[in-house]
């Protein structure tokens, strides 16, 4: 688990993660990218709750490892100021079989979205707006209960 301001390279992280696995037949990765929807995003600011963030992510990763037979799981999440088209965060999961790797990655993403204390603000030429949480993101958690 890493929490950082600096940009990261998803490919390098994926290769390093994969090389560290033993007995994994399936590796799934997810990368979230700052999307410039209206062609007007100047940058994104990500605020978080130091202390709780680490605790929440560790809890989510532990829960995933309890539910699926993973050989490993990786979470990287950035905070601070991000330019458009930059990686925001990534998760990677590895398991003997593909279904476990896919489900665990989706579980991590669903919980990171709604249960890890991050808040995104989009800054454009016209001003700035906090990104609103979506009902569908909260509803996505039902799948795992």
């Amino acid at each position: 688990m890493r929490l950082q301001e600096e940009r990261f390279a998803a490919g390098e992280e994926l290769d390093a993660f994969t090389a560290a696995q033993r007995g994994a037949g399936a590796v799934v990765s997810f990368t979230g990218i700052t999307r410039d929807v209206a062609g007007s995003l100047a940058h994104m600011e990500i605020e978080h709750y130091p202390g709780m963030t680490e605790r929440a992510i560790r809890g989510i990763v532990d829960e995933a490892k309890g539910r699926w037979p993973l050989t490993g799981a990786l979470v990287i999440h950035r905070y601070g100021r991000l330019a458009p088209e930059e990686p925001i965060m990534m998760v990677a999961t590895a398991s003997a079989h593909r279904v476990a790797a896919f489900e665990a990655a989706e579980f991590l993403m669903d919980y990171l979205k709604s249960r890890a204390p991050f808040w995104k603000k989009e800054v454009t030429a016209d001003g700035s707006d906090w990104v609103a949480a979506k009902d569908e993101d909260e509803a996505a958690l039902d799948r795992w209960s």
Binding site: E47, Y49, R55, K113, S114, P117, F118, V131, E138
Partner: protein, 83 residues
């Protein structure tokens, strides 16, 4: 009892500070919020719609009815938008 209050995202912006220390006898989160609302308009603005807010007690998500006994740190924030 002494509590550290933390505010994030637009809650922080509306109240105008990220953190403060308060003395209170509030028994629950809801009691504390009522107390804060009575203070100044910026608190009233931040806590106007508590259904749009979440609360964490000592870095664990909690409910509006959760008791504050033994708690050191209370954080208020909008629903998270990680990932």
């Amino acid at each position: 009892m002494t509590l550290d209050l933390l505010y994030f995202a637009w809650v922080r912006e509306r109240i105008g500070l990220p953190k403060e220390r308060v003395e209170t006898e509030a028994a629950t989160v809801a009691d504390l919020v009522d107390e804060l609302r009575g203070r100044e308009e910026r608190y009233e603005a931040a806590f106007a719609d508590t259904t749009a807010l979440k609360v964490a007690l000592d870095q664990e998500l909690a409910e509006w009815g959760s008791p504050l006994e033994g708690v050191r740190e209370v954080a208020f924030f909008p629903p998270m938008t990680g990932g």
